[in-house]
């Protein structure tokens, strides 16, 4: 059955006809063409589909699309401020936080939510914030470094590139 819903994604409100059994991830990828959030397991295990729902990291692959009605959905595509990348995105690029890049958009959303409320996270707090996002390439080390660099950039109002001296 096709249902018409109103959904706000990355600041744009859309009126959409979606099959009522769709998950938020299916809606984002198949209907809106936002392919930044990834399908890694389709069971809520890997975190590659993580988006923000009213600022809270949420597994879009197991969320019925109706649950997102009336809320602000933010995907990786909505993380940058116009053409200026979010400090996290720049920091990931500088430290090598993304290798294959498949888990990256989900990890960035979890990290962005962390930095919204905590500009000085400890290594331990970062690890906890990422516990729902599996990365198979990096061993997480360069991801921690990226998040710490971005946090410092946000605290000091400088760019990650300046801080890393490159």
């Amino acid at each position: 059955m096709i249902e018409t819903i109103r959904l706000t994604v990355n600041g744009d409100t859309h009126e959409l006809g979606v099959p009522s059994h769709y998950t938020l991830l299916e809606m984002l990828r198949y209907v809106l063409g936002l392919t930044g959030p990834k399908q890694g397991c389709d069971k809520g295990d890997c975190g590659a589909c993580t988006v923000l729902l009213d600022g809270v990291p949420t597994l879009s692959c197991i969320l019925p699309v109706q649950e997102a009605i009336g809320k602000e959905v933010t995907t990786i595509e909505g993380l940058a401020d116009g053409d200026a990348p979010h400090p996290l995105q720049e920091a990931f690029d500088l430290t090598g936080g993304a290798q294959c890049g498949f888990c990256t958009s989900g990890i960035l959303m979890s990290a962005a939510a962390l930095l919204e409320t905590n500009r000085s996270p400890t290594r331990c707090e970062i690890r906890e914030a990422l516990a729902g996002n599996l990365c198979r390439c990096t061993g997480y080390t360069k991801i921690y470094e990226a998040i710490e660099l971005a946090a410092r950039a946000l605290r000091e109002g400088r760019s990650p590139a300046e801080l890393s001296g490159s």
């Binding site: 397991c41 595509e77 990348p85 890049g101 198979r136």
Partner: protein, 805 residues
């Protein structure tokens, strides 16, 4: 500052004479610097387009019907009901593609879909293309397959004992159809040297199977156009081999098949051969006239597998009283699963690759790969050699203990050296293993910790060696293993066309760094077009850690040709010697007078005016005269060998047996780090993956042949909370064969993690863990056994002077 501005500044700002003078003085402008990747921002912004992100107009979705039986004959398949379901456009079965394929040309034993037999639960039987996944899935239920169920074997020793039920037809009339490959090689007089050893240690090790678990599931799209050309987009890491096999199986002209490999979301060896989905999307697209996509479910990824072989390894190792290795005698059984895959190579690798970094006077291995009715095993990061590395490095720890020699010192005493040959005749050139040992010894405070930490805490060491590509390609031919084509625009932009596969390891970036280094263009001026068989010269693929060495050399070869032309053209205009002209940092300049310079684009224009359109091809082929002079002596022969040493520190909870790996120090000799950020990323990712296999991962099956845990919840891979602290220590030995001296970094650093952790557990609590993984119940049981023996007086208390931590 905007990113692009930043990139410009980063690379192209050496405009002043002082900076150019500094550039003259530096050995490299780009190589060795901690630069960004070329695809970093595309990935961090969610804009990188992976295979499943592609949607074509009118695209259908397909699903594959899979066998519920681990071993059965197919008697009949009836698809008529399914064909009549609304939304179904095409169905294929094995008889539509009756040509066997396989990654090794002399071991083609698979059909795109099974025809006569299924050999594991999950073997593909039919595929349906429909308007959406739901309709395709519904249609699968309507396909009727009649099976004659056969006895099945999950245990290789059981399969060996039942030749009357062969999983494959025997290769020779009197052979056992359940033996996939047997290799026995001997170097030196093992038996008499074992007899004449001061000490011989003997143990049996079991390495549990594990799987790659890339976060991106396999995906493919087939498109057959009106002119009869087939295009397949795939998550493969071997587009060239897929190209060949697609043409063979579908009986198409190779020139009418195009394979495009978008960025791959992790592979680790799990995408290094053709899979059923690529043939199915192609055939279904040909029949339906519509583009067809298949995306594996996570469960299907677990069944597709091709991961680490379970191996049962019996080792005897003899040494003299000074700890010098006299003989190694290894007998190994490999559990191959249902098909051959790379099995022949895996069987050799299970023995061939442990003969460095140590000298051994004699060596014998006897390896048998056996078919079982489980998903087929294949290459996973550190193909075939991670398992025996576990065995040999724990053997060395046992030797060290029985001779009362420090385990690092024992490894030093057995150091192979550089520019030498191994006992099985492989030529090792650069060898930085001693520096690796020094680095981890220092960083970990080894001497302050080994046998000195309190009971429950321990530290362990292990070393390893790995290939940087193989001297001999998968199908015998004399052509280059890798090639690169460059095209220069009048703006100064350089396009790089190369068949190399970007799977996260940074191969695109590596090519860009080399072009920027050789031609002096800013990194932002380099464009990479990779892995599109219609446009890119052949590279054999991202496997066996071959890409940096082989594509890197091909790229230097191509860039060198353009560089020579540009320098000549500029020299002519300046009326100086061509060797006086340098290209760096966006400029062509006079090395004797850096005030004399011109933008690199102008230099390119001069060269274009003199020589015509600027472009070049370059290639690399391996030395073919370096191998062992015996059957199988080419397998394991590599242009360059990398070396790793690791120290792991653990804490073992003696109440529960839980092993907490606190930290791993990784020192890796990568020849030269072309970009240290990427090298460290490979080292950390490797050690993480080794750690995971050591304490968590188990790719195991129920008696019915069903996978025990085919989900990312149940098949445990480490989260950020599980993963230990990892510290990378790069060692550079500068190899004569590698580009700028570079060797591999992607697979070698995985090898020592597992034995280092096993040896650390022994140092912590005095129990040998010879069976993987080191789960809490297993360690707890070993602790109980030790406690009983201590109580009976058969063993002294372990580290009695220290109190438990």
């Amino acid at each position: 500052m905007k990113l692009e501005d930043f990139r410009e500044k980063q690379i192209a700002s050496a405009a002043s004479d002082e900076e150019l003078s500094a550039a003259v003085a530096r050995e490299f402008q780009v190589i060795g610097r901690r630069l960004r990747r070329t695809d970093g921002m595309a990935k961090s912004s969610g804009r990188a387009v992976f295979t499943d992100d592609i949607t074509l107009p009118g695209m259908l979705h397909a699903k594959i019907l899979r066998s519920p039986h681990p071993h059965a004959r197919i008697l009949a398949i009836d698809v008529s009901k399914a064909l009549h379901l609304d939304g179904v456009h095409a169905i294929v079965t094995g008889s539509d593609m009756p040509v066997t394929y396989g990654i090794l040309p002399w071991a083609r034993d698979e059909y795109a879909l099974c025809i006569d037999k299924v050999r594991y639960v999950g073997d593909g039987v039919a595929a349906v293309a429909a308007v959406d996944e739901e309709s395709a899935t519904e249609a699968l239920d309507l396909i009727e397959v009649e099976y004659e169920v056969l006895p099945h074997f999950l245990d290789p020793e059981e399969a060996l004992a039942h030749p009357e039920t062969p999983i494959h037809d025997p290769k020779k009339p009197d052979a056992n159809g359940n033996v996939s490959k047997h290799v026995r090689l001997q170097f030196g007089d093992v038996d008499s040297l074992l007899e004449n050893s001061a000490v011989v240690v003997e143990a049996e090790y079991y390495f549990e199977g594990t799987t790659h678990t890339a976060i991106e599931p396999h995906c493919a799209i087939g498109y057959f156009d009106a002119s009869g050309k087939l295009t397949v987009w795939s998550t493969t890491q071997v587009p060239h081999y897929l190209h060949r096999e697609l043409a063979r199986v579908l009986d198409l002209d190779v020139a009418k098949v195009r394979v495009i490999q978008p960025p791959v979301g992790g592979a680790f060896g799990g995408k290094s051969e053709p899979f059923d989905l690529e043939f199915c999307v192609a055939k279904l697209a040909m029949i339906s006239g519509r583009p067809v996509k298949i995306l594996y479910t996570r469960e299907e990824v677990f069944y597709a597998h091709r991961g680490r072989h379970p191996m049962l390894m019996r080792y005897r190792t003899g040494a003299d009283e000074n700890g010098r290795i006299r003989a190694v005698d290894a007998t190994t059984i490999l559990d191959g699963g249902g098909y051959e895959s790379f099995g022949l190579v895996t069987t050799y690798y299970s023995g061939q690759l442990i003969t460095a970094p140590y000298t051994m006077e004699s060596y014998r291995f006897d390896s048998t790969r056996v078919y079982t009715n489980k998903p087929c095993c294949g290459p996973k990061r550190g193909h075939g050699s991670v398992q025996p590395r576990f065995a040999i490095e724990v053997q060395l720890d046992r030797l060290a203990e029985s001779l009362d020699i420090d385990p690092i010192e024992l490894r030093r005493r057995n150091f192979l050296g550089s520019d030498t040959r191994t006992v099985n005749e492989f030529h090792v050139k650069s060898n930085g293993f001693l520096e690796c040992l020094d680095a981890v010894e220092r960083a970990s405070d080894w001497s302050g910790k080994y046998r000195r930490l309190p009971h429950g805490r321990g530290i362990g060491v292990a070393g390893s060696c790995y290939i940087s590509g193989t001297n001999y390609p998968i199908y015998p031919n004399e052509m280059p293993q890798s090639a690169v084509q460059l095209q220069v625009d009048r703006s100064g932009r350089v396009a790089v066309f190369c068949g190399a596969s970007e799977i996260g390891q940074g191969s695109d970036s590596m090519l860009a760094y080399i072009v920027a280094e050789e031609l002096g263009v800013p990194l932002a001026y380099v464009r990479i077009l990779a892995a599109d068989t219609d446009f890119t010269p052949v590279d054999l693929g991202a496997y066996s850690s071959r890409v940096t060495l082989m594509c890197g050399n091909a790229c230097i070869d191509a860039a060198g040709k353009i560089k020579r032309q540009v320098k000549r053209a500029v020299a002519e205009s300046w009326e100086c010697k061509s060797r006086q002209v340098a290209l760096a940092a966006g400029w062509a300049f006079d090395v004797k007078d850096t005030g004399r310079k011109m933008p690199i684009s102008e230099a390119f224009n001069l060269a274009e005016a003199k020589y015509g359109a600027l472009g070049a091809t370059g290639s690399y082929n391996t030395p073919k005269d370096i191998h062992g002079e015996y059957r199988g002596g080419t397998i394991g022969s590599s242009p360059a060998y990398s070396f790793t040493a690791q120290v792991a520190e653990v804490e073992v909870d003696s109440e529960t047996g839980f092993v907490d790996v606190r930290k791993i120090w990784i020192a890796h000799d990568c020849g030269r780090a072309l970009n240290p950020v990427l090298v460290e990323g490979q080292m950390e990712g490797s050690a993480y993956m080794g750690f995971a296999e050591a304490v968590m991962e188990q790719h195991v099956f129920k008696e019915s042949g069903l996978h025990n845990a085919p989900s990312l919840l149940d098949y445990k891979i480490p989260t950020s909370l599980d993963t230990p602290e990892l510290e990378s220590l790069i060692v550079e030995s500068v190899d004569p064969e590698g580009p700028y001296g570079a060797k591999e970094a992607g697979e070698g650093p995985l090898h020592p993690s597992i034995p280092a952790i096993a040896n650390a557990i022994y140092d912590a609590v005095g129990v040998r863990m010879d069976r993987l993984p080191f789960t809490a119940p297993r360690v707890w049981k070993a602790l109980q056994l030790r406690a009983e023996r201590e109580k009976a007086g058969a063993l002294p208390p372990w580290k009695p002077e220290s109190s438990p931590c």
